[in-house]
């Protein structure tokens, strides 16, 4: 397919992590190119970054797209809704985008949502290459375009994106196991020594250093946003109890409607909407221990920066019905990560007791000689 020769690219950003990566791509693989960026309203916190992002002048234009509402209206799972959407591409774009789209040589996107598919249709016959970029776990394990996954994937227009996407850029392509035959290519890793990037990102996200002295961070996931019943709050409670007061903080997931852990008194409120990776760029990772069920944010320290941060993955203790629990591919991913990529300080307790012991040890509260009382006390009869 002939490409446009304008050297112009478009990046579509739905989340803080995607924005973080988009800025990094802009300064590395997209350096010297003209770049537009679309900031969608999928993650409300991104709105706060808009003006600062524009101020940096990193991008020729920063467009906004209000796609949340129509994404809900035109469900990918319903063939009829999908047909409706594809018959109205132009009106949808006009009602959604803050500015008109241009002609691009490449479009970078991280999700295959309805908006991405509309873009694929829009540029389908034009010389414009579509390139996926990393969005955490899902980019490694989920074949979003598999026909049996959604009606949109069987729809003649909806499936055009499959033809369009040439490759997917990942920080660690060797970990990819989606099985969709789209080639995976490496994204350059981020150097923590890159002060310029750090400064830029800090500005865009208005990064504020953490206030408290907590050193055990529980990275919440979006289970509540997805209406999934789990034991994650109990696991938080367990962790909090094991590390002791004043050391435990829950970083809420931006998509969850309420900060339930804080409401329940499991943690004080975590301030800031900056991506977790920015925290890792700024703070001394040696000080911290990350706790999570299986948040990708806990792995990105390794995947994105090559760091060996103390990380405790709780997924073997998780109870609840979510994709990764059922998906053998994701299990394989986690196993592969643990065996081939994780550092020496990556812990996966398989029982609640192992969790307690690990946290007590990492928190300096472990007593190695905790045999039954009386052993070697000299009291034996």
């Amino acid at each position: 397919m002939p490409h446009a020769c304008n050297n112009r690219v478009l990046l579509v950003v739905n989340s803080v992590y995607q924005l973080f990566t988009a800025v990094h791509m802009r300064r590395t693989i997209l350096a010297g190119r003209e770049a537009d960026l679309i900031l969608t309203d999928i993650t409300p916190a991104l709105e706060g970054c808009l003006s600062r992002l524009r101020e940096t002048g990193l991008f020729r234009r920063v467009l906004t797209a209000s796609i949340k509402e129509f994404s809900e209206q035109y469900s990918l799972a319903k063939a009829e809704a999908v047909s409706d959407a594809f018959q109205n591409i132009l009106p949808l774009f006009r009602g959604t985008l803050s500015e008109e789209l241009d002609e691009y040589e490449q479009v970078y996107l991280a999700n295959f949502d309805l908006f991405a598919r509309l873009l694929a249709c829009w540029y389908y016959t034009r010389p414009c290459e579509f390139i996926g970029y990393e969005d955490g776990f899902s980019s490694y394990v989920i074949d979003y375009l598999r026909e049996d996954r959604a009606a949109a994937n069987r729809h003649p227009e909806g499936r055009k994106i499959k033809d369009k996407v040439e490759r997917i850029l990942l920080y660690e392509p060797r970990l990819a196991m989606r099985g969709d035959a789209i080639p995976n290519r490496p994204l350059p890793k981020i150097s923590r020594e890159d002060g310029e990037l750090r400064g830029l990102l800090n500005y865009i996200f208005d990064y504020q250093p953490p206030e408290g002295g907590e050193d055990f961070f529980f990275l919440e996931q979006s289970f509540r946003a997805e209406g999934i019943q789990t034991n994650d709050l109990e696991l938080m409670q367990e962790c909090r109890q094991a590390v002791g007061p004043g050391r435990f903080l829950v970083k809420p997931h931006p998509r969850n409607p309420a900060n339930v852990p804080a409401q329940l008194g499991l943690t004080r409120r975590y301030a800031g909407d900056a991506p977790w990776e920015l925290f890792l760029l700024n703070e001394d990772p040696e000080r911290y221990t990350l706790l999570t069920v299986c948040s990708n944010a806990a792995l990105t320290g390794r995947i994105v920066f090559g760091l060996d941060i103390r990380t405790v993955m709780l997924y073997p203790l998780f109870e609840g019905k979510v994709l990764w629990k059922e998906d053998a591919v994701l299990r394989r991913y986690l196993r592969t990560f643990q065996r081939q990529f994780a550092g020496k300080r990556y812990y996966v307790p398989e029982t609640i007791y192992q969790l307690r012991n690990i946290l007590a040890y990492l928190g300096g509260r472990h007593e190695p000689n905790n045999q039954s009382f009386g052993h070697h006390t000299g009291l034996s009869s």
Binding site: N231, E234, L235, Q237, E238, Q241, L317, E319, G320, K344, Y347, E350, T351, I352, Y353, Q354, L355, N357, I358, Y361, L362, H366, P368, N369, N370, Q371, S372, F373, G374, H375, H376, T377, G378, L379, S380, S381
Partner: protein, 582 residues
């Protein structure tokens, strides 16, 4: 008295002041005149020695007394034999009696038929029950020795037989319990001139709490006795002897001495060829199931005790000697394993002074290499621990959630122990933190065997038994305890129990009672809320576990004899209730 002695009656005496006179008088009342009575006082501390001396004074030339330090029945009999001058030897237990014609008739038969051994029948008098039964030694007067050894009765008794004294020049009793079994049946195979007087001349008084009806550690001698019988018997009668042993084993293993089953199995496996190829066993449907025991492995009789920096308490040794006299006490100190064979974590622990951690590893490794039961120096086991040798691997709860490392056991080379040992090899956080063995065991069983950390008995995948705390940690006086914590001295009559276990125990009693009442439908509401939900378990799973537990308890009650027997009463009660309502 210058007459020739026909029969020397030897009566070993030990702490039998209440019965001795009756026994001696029954010999004095014998119609046989040419006899002597040898009382061998085996170091009695009651009035028995004085009674013996009195008899000796009153019957000089007829009754002799030998006082000696206590060595047990067998050696007392040997002493008597050495002092005897009669043509024949008879033994009488000092709490039994003999009928007046016994020795005369038996000696006559021996003389007439040139017998080496003559036997009679035995009358067993069950003292507490006030009943008696006669056990006939053989169905016919003429003895077919092969048939007698295979199918006869009373073969192991010394006391219903008269022996030519010359037999004792080349045979004697062992210093052990069950000395009869060790010797007498083999004598029967070696001295085939056997006569039989089919009359119940010997009165055997069977009481509770005698050596033959209560359990002590030395009773493991019974396996040695069977071994000696088989090893000493005339090879011409070996098949019969094996069958004879098999029948006795079956009774002992399934009825009378089940506690020693592991010891019996161990013994059987030594003679596996003899048992499996025995034609009598093959034909006997009733005895054949005994062979199934040969398929069963038992935990070796090793007690593993590891302590580095202080001596093993003498009380520990004493109790081991008393309850497990044949067990191999394997004491291990710091030098038991060469340092270069230790995992890094253990070497480091030793350097850091974390002795308990290293001791746990040593105990586990010895357990793997030798098999047996680990018994920490701060624990005391009792005889009941023997029955745990029938497991392949066993552990116990210390409380509701924790596993004890005070006492646990396994077969030699058991894969669970291997897996636990392997956990010490990895370079991981658990070894950096010196994770105690108790945690390793629990985590391993949770992950690989579906253990429920609830303090209850569990047989996991037919391979690993986990006991509740009252079995291996604290004696709750329910008769099931095998081993207890004695780390902290408590006054006589008291028991050491952790608060957690005490609470668990009382909760369980209350829970069972409530569930029982609940099941009866009399009082549906529970007096106390169910125990707190453990952390990290979803409400659904917790409810599932609770439901399962309720079902278990209800089933236990409904399957109990009491529940079945009282069913008619419940039906009648229900009938009247309905009538009242109507």
């Amino acid at each position: 008295m210058s007459q020739t002695i026909k029969v020397s009656v030897i009566i070993p005496v030990y702490q039998v002041e209440s019965y001795l006179e009756r026994a001696v008088d029954s010999v004095l009342g014998q119609t046989l005149q040419e006899k002597e009575i040898i009382l061998v006082d085996d170091g009695s501390e009651d009035a028995s020695p004085a009674i013996c001396d009195r008899y000796a004074r009153e019957y000089p030339g007829l009754i002799r007394v030998i006082h000696k330090p206590n060595e047990g029945l067998g050696l007392a009999r040997n002493t008597g034999v050495r002092a005897a001058s009669g043509e024949y030897i008879a033994f009488l237990d000092s709490d039994d009696t003999v009928e007046p014609e016994m020795y005369e008739e038996m000696a006559r038969l021996a003389d007439e038929e040139g017998c080496d051994i003559v036997m009679c029948d035995v009358r067993i008098r069950y003292v507490e029950e006030g009943r008696e039964t006669v056990v006939s030694s053989y169905p016919r007067r003429e003895i077919d020795l092969s048939d007698y050894i295979a199918n006869g009765n009373n073969i192991t008794y010394s006391v219903n037989k008269l022996f030519r004294r010359s037999i004792w020049a080349e045979n004697q009793y062992e210093k052990m319990l069950f000395e009869d079994i060790a010797l007498i049946p083999s004598l029967m195979t070696k001295y085939p001139q056997v006569g039989y007087v089919p009359k119940p001349f010997y009165n055997y008084y069977r009481r509770a709490n005698t050596i033959s009806t209560s359990f002590v550690g030395d009773m493991v001698d019974i396996t040695k006795a069977f071994r000696l019988f088989l090893d000493r018997c005339n090879p011409a009668y070996r098949e019969e002897a094996v069958y004879c042993v098999a029948k006795q084993l079956q009774w002992n293993m399934t009825k009378s001495r089940v506690l020693f089953q592991a010891d019996f199995i161990e013994m059987m496996r030594e003679y596996e060829k003899d048992f499996r190829l025995n034609p009598f066993i093959a034909k006997d449907k009733a005895v054949r199931p005994l062979l199934d025991f040969l398929d069963k492995e038992v935990i070796p009789d090793n007690l593993i005790c590891v302590r580095f920096d202080s001596p093993v308490p003498e009380t520990y040794r004493e109790e081991v000697r008393t309850d497990f006299p044949r067990a191999r006490l394997m004491e291990a100190g710091r030098d038991y394993f060469p340092p270069d064979t230790l995992p890094d974590t253990v070497r480091r622990a030793l350097e850091d002074g974390n002795t308990p951690y290293a001791e746990e590893y040593y105990a586990l490794r010895i357990l793997y290499e030798e098999g047996g039961i680990v018994l920490r120096p701060d624990r005391r086991a009792n005889l009941s621990l023997k029955r745990l040798r029938l497991n392949r691997a066993f552990f116990g709860f210390e409380n509701t959630e924790e596993i004890t490392t005070g006492c646990y056991g396994a077969l030699k080379g058991h894969y669970v122990v291997r897996a636990l040992l392997d956990t010490y090899e990895a370079d991981n956080i658990y070894n950096q933190m010196y994770l105690p063995l108790a945690d390793r065991i629990r985590d391993f069983l949770l992950l690989h065997f579906g253990l429920k950390a609830n303090g209850r008995n569990q047989l996991l995948r037919h391979e690993v038994q986990v006991y509740l705390p009252s079995i291996l940690a604290y004696d709750m006086k329910d008769g099931d305890n095998c081993c207890k914590n004695v780390a902290v001295p408590v006054p006589e009559g008291y028991e050491l129990v952790s608060g957690d276990v005490l609470k668990m125990w009382s909760d369980r009693l209350l829970e069972n009672w409530n569930l029982y009442k609940h099941a009866l439908g009399k009082k549906p509401e529970l007096a106390k809320p169910a125990p707190a939900k453990p952390a990290g378990i979803s409400p659904e799973r917790y409810q599932r576990d609770l439901d399962e537990r309720i079902r278990e308890v209800v089933e236990t009650y409904e399957n109990s004899t009491c529940w079945r027997l009282t069913k008619p009463l419940r039906v009648i009660g229900e009938f009247f209730r309905k009538r009242r309502k109507a």
